[in-house]
Symmetry: C3
Subunit: 353 residues, 3 copies
């Protein structure tokens, strides 16, 4: 990938406002501390991994502080090694550019509009009225439904499906198997069967959004589902109809967000989180992996639920008690009452059992 590219450490230091410690070596790629080879640069994500510096073959390492580190290699010292390393890696591993070519097997409606520089892979289907922005890339097997718009430089990886009347912004990356604009789950009970509630809203995706593999984003029932600019969605996430995901919010895999929930900006939602319908989360809310969010969270901060694993026998014993937690609480109350008035309590305590 990065065969020809190379940079002096001094150039990288200058460009990324880092301080160079050690020899001004020529760098031609990135690697992990474990896998980096000579000529590559790695980074130290946390000082608790400092022992890995002893074994690495990396020529240089991006660190926060080089004091006391082995001096057989060079260091780029900066306040945010993760970000600087990400940017160095972007330099050595740029995203592939559009091939600006349309494969002969693609099926493109006459009324679709493709801006200059668009790449259309094999077996892509583009329906009527679609507009594709400049240098967008539609990889093999992508489907774009009627009247949808795909922004400039956006990449739809193989087998992504964008349904009709949706809007995807510029510079988005949507990964394989993701579905945008499927019908929301709208059913009205009619006494002896369900009736369909037509799902006539759209999905609106801002700029610079990333959507993970096999993630599903339903169109709105009436109002649109919105994923705001800069949001990051991992794999296998469910976004129901009418949900709003705020600017720069990041959501980890396997999370489900029910209908009309509104997630603020700059939130961090862990994996396997379930957020109830109509719940409103403020900006800068973090929810730890596996949590259930049944209602609004009005204050920014970190939230958690769920219970961590313990050995099975201990869990079984705890579960017996958990199922009667309310009884336990009553017993405590009674014991407290007894303690206040030692003579009257014992009979009641027995009643509660």
């Amino acid at each position: 990938m990065s065969e020809q590219k190379s940079k002096r450490l001094s150039e990288l230091a200058l460009f990324h406002s880092a301080d160079l410690t050690g020899a001004d070596a020529l760098i031609h790629g990135v690697g992990s501390l474990k896998s980096a080879t000579s000529g590559q640069i790695a980074f130290l994500s946390s000082h608790k991994f400092v022992a890995a510096l002893n074994d690495t073959a990396a020529t240089a390492v991006v660190v926060r502080n080089a004091i006391g580190l082995p001096d057989r290699m060079s260091y780029l010292v900066c306040s945010d090694p993760g970000l600087v390393f990400a940017r160095i890696s972007q330099f050595f591993n740029p995203l592939p550019e559009s091939k600006a070519a349309i494969h002969s097997s693609a099926v493109i409606a006459d009324s679709a509009t493709l801006a200059p520089g668009v790449e259309v892979g094999p077996n892509v289907v583009i329906e009527a009225g679609v507009m594709i922005g400049q240098n967008a890339q539609l990889k093999a097997g992508v489907f774009v439904g009627e009247n949808s718009t795909i922004g400039a430089a956006t990449v739809l990886m193989p087998r992504v499906a964008i349904h009709s009347n949706c809007i995807v912004g510029d510079r988005c990356r949507i990964h394989s198997g993701a579905i945008v604009g499927s019908d929301g789950f709208g059913n009205a009970w009619a006494g002896d069967h369900w009736e369909r509630i037509p799902q006539i809203g759209r999905v609106i995706i801002g700029d610079d959004v990333e959507i993970g593999a096999n993630t599903t984003i339903d169109r709105g029932a009436l109002d649109d589902t919105c994923i705001e600019s800069g949001a990051r969605l991992d794999n296998l996430i469910q976004i129901a109809h009418g949900v709003r995901v705020g600017r720069n919010t990041a959501i980890a895999a396997c999370t489900g967000i029910a209908g009309s929930a509104e997630i603020g900006s700059n939130c961090l939602i862990g994996g396997g989180v379930l957020i109830a319908d109509h719940a409103k989360l403020a900006d800068r809310v973090s929810v730890l992996s596996g949590s259930g969010v049944p209602s609004d969270i009005d204050q920014s901060g970190v939230y958690a639920s769920g219970t961590p694993v313990v050995p099975y026998q201990a869990w079984l014993r705890n579960m017996v008690q958990f199922k009667k937690l309310n009884e336990l609480a009553k017993k405590i109350k009674q014991l407290e009452k007894n303690a206040m008035n030692p003579r009257s309590g014992q009979a009641e305590s027995d009643d509660d059992q």
Copy 2:
């Protein structure tokens, strides 16, 4: 979508057994209270949203009771506004009919049988022995495996895969990326490796079933997996081999149902629920989002498990205690024993710590 269609409110009232209050305006579409424009009809799902009536531009609103509501607009008054609104929306937003055309890029086996009126989109693959019912729609990239049957007026959205020997009933809607008839997860341990248990059952889907995007329904190991008529499945649901989902049961997204579980009719299963293998749920069981169902539920009713989010520090403190819940219960027991017989208990209480 609904450019030409329009109806007088008096016609809608008559057809849906509602009472009209206010002017008999001409209606040409539906919207939410928030987004509806002049000429559109909205609905009030709950009186707690009544304030939204002050700002809506809707010409009419479907409500349960119009007494005391602003009189600048019209109302359709009825006992089930959600259902009436769904039906009015169906009128203005009918499902697209079959295009009754077969795209030239489709790959259709000679022995497949297509009834009149079938739509086959680009890049569809239909294998040998398949039968497709009248007016069914197979959108772009759909795959139907050997000897499967697709019912009349059923719609398979882009990139749905129906594997061999499966049966899908009439008027079903299966959304993008859904997989029907993949192999069940059947493995027998052979001392030092897993051996495959052949999955030779089928998937049988009744009539009027809806299956969400990227949902997976495995074929039976020996007996069939069955989704009965009228069932509604949301996105990213896992239905394992040999599961039965009863008539009209609705299941929200991200739920997993393990092998041979049987869900009764008219159940409501929330999102992110996990149902254990061989568990049997009675009819009319509701399970709240995020619950774990380890065994049978014999009685209809509402069930829940899981724990809602709290601020992280409170959660941490609770977790410390949760992990020793059984110890806490023992202490309570000891305290109760002490209270009954104050002299003997203290030493034992110390032993428990």
Copy 3:
């Protein structure tokens, strides 16, 4: 499927080291106790299902012990009926062999190398530099990205996507909609937006691995994601970047494994489990369905978390107490202190409320 094949029970007994009890009937297929017809063999998975023997039409049943069982049918008696039945079923239901043909609609790069006997279905896309092993089967709509390698006799079911630079071993089965080698979820916060961390690792899949429908396996950020030989993954599983799944480990559906987690060999991970990033699980660890694993598990054994369903009203009452579990624990402590020193405690106890 198994029209022509048949075997005498005595032949099956000899081949599988089982004892035959009863008539040496001719067997031509397998079924469940419920569905088997005359001439078929079933198996008794557990003696708790022994009543099903009264109603079965099976000609023979594989059992652990035939003593006391109805004598109108034959038995194959062996120490592991499940495994013997699996092997008998494999005989009657062999996997389909490669058709050793390339469909005319497939798009195959000139520089791709296909070994003899490869089957390539309709609309398959094989990019530059790909190598496909002998007798591999790529079903309809499969995508294989640049420079990836697919092992001999491996089957990629319809619409599987293998991204660039990945390696899939021999005799693997990857089910419909699975994604291998999508970008990991790597983002560095840059003060007011997320920046992409290039995902330049690969996915390496060993031999004899099974991967379920719509499961996603991300490529490594720097180091590779590895699924070792013999592992079994069910549907809708998320494997994040840099994860290692050990040899013969089986993972049930809907489970999510976060970045750089390492799962040992011969583990059994239930459905809907969430494993945190960088967590290390020892060999032979079992984790029950629905559990959250926030950190390392160093010892083999069975682990659980989560809470089983109870009726809703009971759950509500328990939740009130659960949210103040730490307070309850404090009260118990105070009551114990009071019991030790009865005069001093009551005022403090009130303070805690």
